[in-house]
């Protein structure tokens, strides 16, 4: 992982060693925890878990399951409802969640916040404790969780969101679009302001990018390993529209923060590429790889006209070769993927073609990366992680490419 000159980010200590919250000072500070609807049982479970994780800590627990007439409080815990409506409770936190949380924090004079997303009751006490400890005791502004996931989980983040956030904003958090987050009060205010700015945007539930906001503000960011958690499914959205929504939002944020990332310089520590794993002749992965490679070949034939408006000849040539590669050797090099994404970011900025069409044309390329990921990881978590880090490293190495292209977007380039 590359280090950032701006935001301090490091993986926090493993769960086993996370210290309990015992500081007298921090216990006096009020921690606001915002929950989604979990049902009465789920709420009780969370109360117990928080009580165990944060003994003696003054906590305001906001839940849509608490109605105005049954708000209650004990010595350390107050249960409150959401006066302005429940949180979005989707597969990720959205702008309105941050706005609501900031309002509540002000109302209850909280000094730190934890926003927990859908199915938060799958988080362990230790995970909750690790997040709270970080935000209360360690002068951190933004603590983002990293869950224990399988090699095929959170691939949009691994392919796109993490590498871009890491390379451009110097924040190496693996899930930049968080489902849960712990915030200092000033971070909450900053995110609320960002959410307000997005209020008039086209998206009905605009996304906010906390890691990028923190980096621009020179706030301290930590990634905390919180163990396993159930990840909610993004509903009925298909991959195409989900990718378009997430990538479109991130590209817009990148565009808005160009003066920042154009200036910041991260040190680059390249991760050496490992050899691809030879998949067995009849494995499930190989079948999947075959299908996806075939799908990419088809996309290449249909979309090369659009891609040629966005990508330079070297990338187009590499994609052509990829489209002709047999499934056994189908592998999109991380640096090619990085440059392709950067060219799409640029085309989005320049409005080279309709933005919707542009993002749609990115999906087959993303699937090519996923295909490569499957080949490289072969179901092994360690190999998967290594490929993700190689991808992130390639984005950092290729950052000068996007900086130069952004500054002088001449189509006449290699």
């Amino acid at each position: 992982m590359s280090s950032s000159p701006i935001a301090d980010i490091s993986n926090a200590s493993p769960l086993e060693t996370a210290p309990a919250v015992r500081s007298t000072d921090s216990s006096r500070a009020t921690l606001l925890i915002c929950l989604p609807s979990l049902g009465i049982d789920g709420l009780q479970t969370m109360q117990d878990r928080i009580g165990a994780a944060l003994p003696g800590q003054s906590v305001v627990l906001a839940s849509p399951d608490v109605l105005p007439d049954n708000e209650s409080s004990t010595e350390h815990l107050r249960l409150v409802g959401y006066p302005a409506g429940p949180p979005h409770a989707s597969w990720t936190l959205v702008a309105s969640d941050f706005l609501t949380a900031a309002d509540l924090a002000r109302e209850h004079n909280a000094s730190a916040l934890m926003l927990l997303g859908a199915e938060a009751d799958s988080l362990s006490s230790a995970g909750l404790q690790a997040l709270a400890t970080c935000i209360l005791n360690q002068r951190v502004d933004l603590a983002l969780p990293r869950y224990k996931t399988g090699p095929h989980d959170a691939l949009v983040s691994s392919a796109l969101l993490y590498p871009l956030t890491n390379a451009l904003f110097g924040v190496g958090t693996h899930l930049p679009l968080p489902l849960d987050a712990a915030l200092s009060l000033r971070m909450a205010e900053r995110l609320a302001a960002a959410a307000r700015r997005l209020g008039n945007g086209a998206q009905s539930t605009p996304l906010v990018w906390p890691a990028a906001e923190a980096s621009v503000s020179s706030f301290v960011v930590r990634e905390i390993e919180v163990g396993e958690r159930t990840l909610p499914h993004p509903g009925d959205a298909d991959l195409n529209s989900l990718l378009a929504e997430v990538a479109g939002s991130l590209f817009t944020d990148i565009e808005a923060k160009a003066p920042f990332w154009q200036r910041s310089r991260s040190s680059i520590s390249a991760v050496q590429a490992s050899e691809p794993v030879l998949l067995g002749s009849e494995t499930e992965e190989l079948a999947e790889v075959r299908a996806m490679a075939e799908s990419f070949r088809s996309a290449y034939l249909n979309l090369q006209e659009i891609w040629s408006l966005v990508l330079p000849p070297q990338s187009l040539l590499a994609l052509k070769k990829l489209s002709l590669a047999p499934p056994e050797s189908f592998l999109m090099p991380p640096d090619l993927w990085a440059r392709v994404v950067y060219d799409f970011v640029l085309a989005y900025h320049l409005r080279t073609i309709n933005r919707g069409h542009l993002l749609g044309a990115l999906t087959p390329l993303y699937l090519a990366w996923v295909t490569s990921h499957l080949r490289r990881s072969a179901g092994d978590a360690a190999l998967s992680s290594r490929h993700v880090e190689e991808t992130a490293s390639a984005f950092s190495t290729e950052k000068p490419y996007v900086v130069a292209r952004w500054r002088w977007p001449d189509r006449f380039n290699p």
Partner: protein, 1114 residues
């Protein structure tokens, strides 16, 4: 209801890109041939895509349009031709939705004569409140000192009104009567109109013609205190009722006169920088940065919340009011060959036609616009390179319809062409078929794309709008280089180096970037890393009209340098070898010198010295170099070693060399930033120490400066003296660096405030440079030298270092005149021989300056006269009555004249002897002239005899003089000259250099320097044009004579103007002529010897001078 401003940052205008639009000219939505607000709204996406952030809309109010809308007939409505108030509101909202601010015009100096206020006034009785809205008079004889601005159309600022039976006042057209700001009711009306628009959400107001608001008899009616009071009142009303609004002043004045319009940040937020604009064009045409650096040097600082507005072109003529007469003539000749291109006091052309449609020139000028300190203002159509129509009247040639595409009427309007308010441009080069938005949008290499990219790039870096400016002064004046620097709010620095080649040919340049040593320039357009900066001059090569924007970033971390295996401490000192020798650790210079250091240095020094620029005896072979003495500084961290160098021929010299040892990170930093300062590497695998010249260390420089601020202890070897008016503690802690320009000494620069010159070659006793500078500063209070601040000397009296005020300058006088001469030769290259060569400078007759010289060498003549004045002032200062025997003026004695005569006679014998000996080796084309000179030996000797036969009292006085006076000893600074370097001729002993002489010795030196400048530049100029050599020789003589005459005239006038003191200083004219010729002879002979030994190619210059002297004698 008041609408808030669309900007949230109160200083938004500092980062803005302003785009100037005329509604009438931009886009026509209703096909009536006139642009309108709906048309403008339809083009907002184009403007957003271009990247501009603020739209300046020219007057759109009801008006008879006799001055393009600046003749307003109703302040609170929209001209029906352009739409309605609702249209304007829609435009405002649409612009704000695209994050663009809107600036409109507040034209309050005058109204249209059709305005109801004026109609009411002229019909109202004299003295009534209605009439008092304007400025009336029964006579046109008051305010006579006010100039007429529209000289082409107006003969007076007063016009008689039959109805009113009075004159009314107007600074512009006679149909634009001036409002009377002495009447409080007028101010109320103005504020009412202003609030009408600000309430609507308008973000900015351009205040038109504000220097002229108030009139007072006996003044020029410009910039009056009452005018400033009116502006303050307007600003106060804005601040009281609104947030984040902007007022931009249109005050076509010199920068110093514009400065008051910023007030203390409580008048206008912005003001146009009018004088800069013509000088940018002048610099480009002359291929010389001087016009730009000169005007910027005259530009005062402004309050933090204020900003300059910069522009290349606008809707008016390229105004030449703020230039000198010569500069105006030059601009007319350079940029408006056809008289139709001129209007009033300016040139009515657009950017691209002015630059002959040369893409690289257009890009270069835009790069300056976008990188200079201020907010750039672009004129509509210039992003395409639109042309103009000089056949339209007034300034309308640059106000033609915007060219959108190649359809009818350039896509501006669907009206029949005859209905257009002005015809679109249709010629083959500039016509809309060739130049239009649509074509350029589809051409990725178009000027439009280039401009869009540049705007986007500028917007990424706040330093361009908010940073400081510092010019660099490379020798090559065709290159303009400057640093923009900003400490951002988050504490991070943003530093950009801009370098522009003003020439049509490729140019080399070496930049002094020592204070950025260790930083890495990254070319900003392509994000390309350039080599890291060291303390050495940074070389760049620029293509014709090219520019670089280089961000100076902290250097990227590099792999660690390989280390050298270290043997033991004793082994290290025993077997040391230069640059790769190991040593013990930790080791200080003190302990090194106490231990085996002397032997070590003895081995290192010969090789090291020979590589140093300041070592003056490179042609001699060093027999030995030993540390004769050393002086510790800052404990034993630094030591100033006095190195005794003995040469093979037995001669000896002493040099000063500060030394120190650095280890670890400090050593690593030195290897990167100052590799040439390292004498030896003493490192081992763990820390890699280096022995180095301590001037490279900030610590040493501060410690050396600290001698000025610490009290002297008994027995101290380094002593400090400073001027009584200088407080050294004021510079304590000031960051320092090593200057790169010095040759024989080393200058330590303390910010832009002081220079501590460390003398490298030491001679026992006081250095004359220090002695004379101190006298001129502390006793004579002469301010045309960099002021003496203090000095450091050894306790035996030897001067070690000299502290002077830093003098910002644009190069030395030699460079300035050389460039002027190149221009002179270029201007006369195709002319026939001049009618007359003029006559040499003389004390016996007032020579006329030939017309040819006045026409082609105007700048040189002015400068020569200025130098004459400054030289005379210097001599008068050196003759200041004093009890100090070293400086008191003395009458010339017979002995003095005899000594002079003998000295020059000896010089004649010596020089002619050398010439005779070398006759076989000098260039063939000079042999005849050399022989001729040898034959004139007796004529030359006659010059010396003339001295010894005259009465000494008539030869004036002897004083301390400069002693080595020539153009290279002048610095050109802020259109003036500073005199530097009073060391005297380096080849002479200190005792000789401290002797008193006639001031005419300096005069002779400067006259010879003019001769050298004219001849050597002619050689340079004709190197590539040998066929012109003969034809231009006559022009060279004319230039030399004219400049010399001008110099001597100004010199004599200044001396005589000083009264009694001046009267006794110079000899009587006949004796002055005799002495001057003798001194010219001496100087020319010195040059002859020098050129014989060093530069035979230049031998013809002193030869010509000597033959002329011999001829005159004969």
């Amino acid at each position: 209801m008041k609408k808030p401003c669309s900007a949230t940052d109160p200083l938004w205008y500092k980062d803005a890109i302003i785009y100037e639009i005329h509604v009438r000219a931009f886009a026509d939505s209703n096909d009536d041939g006139i642009g309108d607000f709906q048309g403008l709204i339809s083009k907002l996406d184009y403007l957003q895509d271009l990247g501009v952030t603020c739209l300046w809309v020219l007057p759109f109010f009801p008006s008879p349009l006799r001055d393009d809308g600046y003749d307003i007939a109703n302040y609170t409505n929209v001209n029906p031709s352009y739409g309605t108030i609702e249209d304007f509101k829609q435009f405002l909202d649409e612009a704000h939705a695209r994050n663009m601010q809107v600036m409109i015009e507040l034209v309050i100096n005058h109204t249209s004569d059709q305005h109801p206020w004026f109609q009411r006034a002229r019909h109202a009785p004299k003295g009534s409140p209605e009439r008092d809205y304007y400025v009336w008079s029964d006579t046109d004889q008051i305010y006579k000192d006010a100039r007429i601005i529209f000289t082409d159309t107006e003969k007076s600022n007063w016009t008689w009104d039959e109805e009113a039976q009075q004159y009314y006042w107007h600074r512009f057209f006679s149909h634009q009567p001036d409002l009377n700001f002495d009447n409080p009711a007028v101010m109320e009306e103005v504020l009412k109109a202003m609030r009408f628009w600000l309430d609507m959400g308008v973000d900015a107001m351009r205040m038109d013609a504000i220097p002229y608001l108030v009139e007072r008899d006996g003044t020029n009616c410009e910039n009056l205190p009452e005018t400033h009071a009116a502006i303050k009142a307007i600003r106060a009303a804005i601040d009281e009722g609104y947030e984040n609004r902007l007022v931009l002043a249109e005050a076509n004045q010199w920068p110093a006169d514009v400065r008051p319009y910023f007030g203390d940040g409580d008048e206008c937020h912005m003001a146009f920088h009018f004088p800069l604009m013509p000088r940018m064009y002048m610099a480009l045409r002359q291929e010389d940065r001087l016009p730009i650096t000169d005007i910027m040097a005259q530009t005062p600082g402004i309050p933090d919340n204020c900003q300059w507005g910069l522009f290349l072109r606008n809707h008016d003529e390229l105004t030449l009011e703020m230039v000198t007469d010569d500069e105006r003539d030059y601009m007319y000749m350079a940029y408006s060959a056809d008289p139709r291109m001129r209007v009033n006091v300016g040139i009515r052309r657009r950017l691209a036609p002015l630059l002959d449609n040369n893409r690289r020139r257009i890009e270069l000028m835009n790069s300056l616009l976008l990188s200079f300190p201020g907010t750039p203002i672009m004129y509509y159509g210039d992003e395409l390179g639109m042309g103009d129509n000089i056949y339209l009247g007034d300034r309308n040639g640059v106000r033609t319809p915007m060219q959108w595409n190649s359809d009818r009427n350039a896509g501006f309007s669907k009206a029949v062409p005859a209905r257009l308010y002005f015809p679109v441009i249709m010629d083959p080069v500039w016509g809309y078929q060739a130049i239009n938005v649509e074509a350029q949008q589809s051409d990725p290499s178009s000027l439009l794309h280039w401009t869009r990219n540049m705007i986007a790039l500028r917007k990424l870096f706040q330093v361009f709008g908010r940073g400081t400016l510092e010019f660099l002064h490379p020798e090559n004046r065709k290159v303009l280089a400057y640093i923009r620097d900003l400490q951002r709010e988050d504490g991070s620095p943003e530093t950009v180096l801009c370098v522009a080649n003003l020439s049509r040919f490729a140019q080399p340049v070496a930049l002094d970037l020592a204070k950025f040593a260790g930083r890495q320039p990254v070319e900003m357009l392509g994000y390309v890393a350039f080599p890291e900066i060291t303390d050495q001059p940074y070389p760049l090569t620029l293509a014709p009209y090219s520019f670089f924007w280089l961000e100076l970033q902290p250097a990227a971390p590099k792999p660690e340098a390989p280390t050298i295996e270290s043997p033991t401490e004793n082994e290290a000192l025993a077997g040391i070898a230069p640059n790769s020798a190991p040593a013990s650790h930790p080791l200080s210079i003190g302990s090194l010198l106490e231990g085996g250091g002397h032997e070590l240095l003895q081995q290192l020094l010969p090789n090291y010295l020979e590589q140093q620029r300041w070592f003056g005896s490179k042609s001699r072979k060093i027999r030995s170099a030993v540390v004769g003495a050393s002086m510790a500084l800052a404990g034993d961290e630094y030591s100033i070693a006095l190195i005794d160098v003995t040469y093979d021929n037995g001669s000896a010299e002493r040099y000063q060399l500060p030394l120190s040892i650095a280890a670890g990170d400090s050593a690593e930093a030195l290897r990167k930033s100052s590799p040439k300062a390292i004498l030896a590497t003493l490192g081992d695998a763990t820390n890699g120490s280096v022995l180095y010249d301590a001037t490279a260390s900030e610590g040493f420089r501060q410690a050396l400066f600290g001698v000025f601020t610490t009290s002297t202890k008994d027995g101290a070897t380094i002593l400090a003296t400073h001027s009584p008016v200088f407080n050294p503690t004021s510079l304590t802690g000031t960051e320092s660096r090593v200057g790169s320009a010095e040759q024989s000494n080393t200058s330590l620069l303390f910010d832009q405030k002081a220079i501590l010159k460390l003398f490298r070659r030491l001679e026992p006793g006081e250095n004359p440079d220090v002695e004379i500078s101190r006298f001129l500063t502390d006793v004579a209070h002469f301010d045309r030298i960099p002021a003496y601040l203090g000095e450091l000397h050894h306790n035996d009296g030897t001067t070690l270092a000299f502290l002077q005020a830093f003098a910002a300058n644009e190069g030395d006088g030699w460079s300035w005149f050389s460039e002027e001469l190149i221009r002179f030769y270029e201007s006369v290259a195709n002319s026939p021989q001049p009618a007359s060569y003029g006559k040499p400078a003389s004390f016996l007759a007032e020579a006329e300056i030939p017309q040819d010289a006045q026409e082609h060498a105007g700048f040189s003549l002015e400068a020569a006269a200025l130098i004459g004045t400054r030289t005379a002032q210097m001599h008068l200062a050196l003759a200041t009555p004093t009890d100090d025997i070293a400086f008191s003026a003395e009458p010339t004695s017979t002995e003095d004249l005899t000594r002079d005569s003998a000295r020059i006679r000896e010089q004649v014998e010596q020089a002619l002897g050398a010439l005779k000996r070398n006759l076989a080796t000098i260039p063939d084309d000079l042999v005849d002239r050399a022989a001729l000179l040898l034959s004139r030996r007796s004529d030359l000797l006659q010059r010396t005899r003339a001295l010894a036969t005259d009465a000494p009292a008539a030869f004036g006085e002897r004083i301390r003089i400069h002693g080595d006076y020539h153009l290279g000893q002048l610095l050109h600074a802020k259109s003036d000259f500073l005199i530097v370097d009073f060391e005297g001729e380096p080849a002479r002993s200190l005792e000789e250099r401290r002797q008193k002489h006639s001031p005419l010795k300096d005069v002779a030196g400067m006259l010879r320097s003019f001769s050298y400048a004219s001849r050597s530049t002619l050689d340079r100029y004709t190197q590539r044009r040998p066929e012109q050599s003969g034809a231009l020789a006559g022009w060279a003589s004319l230039w030399e004579n004219a400049v010399s005459v001008k110099f001597l005239q100004a010199y004599r006038e200044t001396i005589h103007g000083a009264g009694v003191q001046g009267a006794s200083l110079l000899p009587k004219p006949p004796q002055a002529e005799t002495l001057l010729h003798a001194l010219l002879l001496e100087k020319s002979l010195y040059e002859l010897l020098y050129e014989l030994n060093n530069r035979p190619d230049w031998l013809h210059i002193p030869l010509s001078g000597l033959l002329a002297l011999a001829r005159d004698t004969a």
